[in-house]
């Protein structure tokens, strides 16, 4: 199958479907027509797109945790706890890392060992191994919509099982679940895998079943300049809509500087709508998700609550539709359910306190918005040129050329030439531009701001400055000043 942005033909989809459903025995439990009927039996309160639309109309920000364990009953118990004790507005099922690499045999060992030892040996819920009926048990055991959250380059079988299983939202995309989550998988192949997922959701959509799609905004979660994550979000949005998706939640990971983060949240739907319209795609519901700090966390729980609350404040002031919540155990790995619920409660306290406040437009905010739009357009226009109008083809070429370049990514399909660093106010700028298609005006803007920080700290900007930035939050700062 040749790579193109155009909708997959029905024959190719059916051919792949045979193969995908045969990858693990639970694939046999998937029946599309029956699944459509099941979705139609769900109350509106359990449908992600419905609740997101309601939140968007009211201008409220919802809170959602991450969570998942190896065994079904324990997983349900965990989600109920986060709903009842944490007050989660949306629930997740975070998928374990073996499933993310399609290693279902190892996931099965993890399930078996968890049973024997009486503690979860997996870092998430192995939904493929558990199968359709178990997923429905999850959906039926809680009162709010449930989403699949993962990091799977080839998530076709996972999508088939979980969507037939009643989940109404699916995270990921061909770029955002490849570049930060794999080493050796080509972008061309993951774009195709995700076109299958998006086409599947398009087919549900055509039957009147709304499944929301959420490209993974934060990418590597470490000093990603907003224009780079925005460009990826727009591309994944277009790729999804081209396959029939009609409800999108676009994501952005907190950088830490309030003005920059609010500017990023404001511009994300604007730039996406601009390009969907420009390329002639149908109207799509667009909402936003803000990810609380994705980098290293302080070990001290009180300090971690500080980081969590700053993320909550930014989400509220930037009017994100939803915020993904961190926990006070973040520095130590997978949290207990109590710690997870505490993170949600802290977040919701701030969200409700700030729900009637906005950040007023100032010259600084306007400039930041203008720069993010300019930079994102520079990248997207070059991608379209490289692809001779086809954004799927252009994306593959853009990664080859380093026109899109994600800092600190494990994938060898990412150029890895750019180097970001904070400016003196903590906003993320670009220190080494690699092959980003930025003009001199944009480059001077970044250079001036980083130079100012160098002056303030009496040192030349270098990789050491970047390392200091990465460790800074754990040491109680945003900007990694020299000791």
């Amino acid at each position: 199958m040749e790579l193109t942005v155009r909708q997959m033909d029905a024959e190719e989809f059916q051919r792949q479907r045979q193969e995908v459903l045969g990858q693990w025995e639970t694939g046999k439990g998937v029946n599309f027509e029956e699944a459509v009927a099941y979705h139609k039996s769900l109350p509106k309160s359990k449908i992600f797109a419905e609740k997101l639309a309601e939140g968007k109309a009211k201008g409220v920000t919802f809170a959602q945790p991450r969570a998942g364990v190896a065994l079904l009953n324990e997983h349900i118990e965990l989600l109920r706890f986060l709903q009842d004790e944490g007050g989660a507005d949306f629930l997740p099922s975070t998928i374990d890392s073996y499933t993310r690499q399609n290693r279902y045999t190892e996931a099965q060992s993890g399930i078996d060992e968890s049973r024997t030892l009486g503690r979860s040996m997996l870092n998430g819920f192995p939904a493929v191994n558990h199968g359709v009926a178990a997923c429905r048990q999850v959906v039926e055991s809680v009162q709010v919509p449930v989403q699949v959250r993962h990091g799977t380059p080839d998530a076709r079988l996972l999508a088939e099982v979980t969507i037939a299983g009643g989940f109404t939202d699916y995270e990921g995309g061909g770029i955002s679940y490849n570049i930060p989550y794999s080493k050796d998988v080509s972008i061309e192949s993951t774009i195709k895998y995700w076109q299958y997922v998006d086409r599947l959701i398009g087919l549900y959509e055509e039957q009147g079943v709304k499944i929301n799609r959420e490209p993974f905004g934060p990418l590597t979660g470490t000093l990603v300049p907003p224009a780079i994550s925005h460009a990826v979000a727009v591309i994944e949005g277009i790729l999804a809509v081209a396959q029939g998706v009609r409800s999108l939640t676009l994501g952005y990971g907190q950088c830490g500087n309030l003005i920059q983060d609010v500017a990023a949240l404001h511009t994300l739907p604007v730039i996406t709508e601009e390009y969907l319209k420009k390329l002639g795609y149908p109207e799509t519901m667009i909402t936003t998700v803000f990810h609380q700090w994705m980098g290293g966390f302080p070990q001290d729980e009180a300090k971690a609550f500080g980081v969590i609350s700053w993320g909550a404040a930014t989400a509220a002031l930037g009017k994100a539709t939803k915020v993904i919540v961190k926990t006070p155990h973040e520095a130590l790995g997978i949290p207990t359910k109590e710690a997870n619920a505490a993170g949600i409660r802290a977040t919701k306290q701030v969200l409700s306190m700030l729900k009637d406040q906005t950040l007023p437009m100032t010259p600084e905010l306007a400039l930041e918005e203008q720069m993010i739009l300019k930079e994102t357009r520079a990248i997207l226009d070059r991608v379209l040129t490289l692809g001779e109008g086809d954004i799927a083809v252009g994306t593959v070429r853009a990664f080859q050329a380093g026109v899109i370049d994600v800092p600190f990514a494990p994938s060898r399909y990412n150029a890895g030439k750019i180097l970001p660093a904070r400016d003196t106010t903590g906003a993320v700028r670009v220190l080494d531009f690699g092959n980003l298609p930025f003009d001199n005006e944009i480059k001077d803007f970044h250079r001036e701001r980083i130079a100012q920080r160098g002056q303030d700290e009496g040192r030349d900007p270098s990789f050491q400055m970047v390392i200091d930035d990465i460790y800074a939050i754990g040491k109680g700062m945003l900007v990694g000043r020299p000791r």
Binding site: S97, S182, K183, P335
Partner: protein, 139 residues
Amino acid sequence: MQQKTLVLGVIGSDVHAVGNRILDYAFTQAGFKVINIGVLATQEEFIHAAIETNADVLMVSSLYGHGEMDCRGLREKCQEKGIGNILMYVGGNLVVGKQDFESVKERFLAMGFNRVYPPGTMPEIPIKDLREDLGIADE
């Protein structure tokens, strides 16, 4: 003195790449030859790289909680391949959930690791231990 060689990688189905980059940089700066096999590294890749480069130490990272399952049997595999005495260090978020680090450390020492590090360890600490274990004088 001859430069010592480290095989550095993130084991199992783990894709945490940021710390791996920083450790590569920090160990290189400290004068070691770093063979970085990156994320998603299997036990076999660690051992293969160690044999190829005649390495002195395996530096194993695991950040995602499956470390216990992924690291089991690594020492035995090294013995089978004739590098049974190689130094093995491990560090990160090694298990699922907040567990007492001393008990985690015991488990990994019993698996045959020489050094075990808790979450949030700065690169200077293993660098100091490497110098001690490899008999390198402090600068």
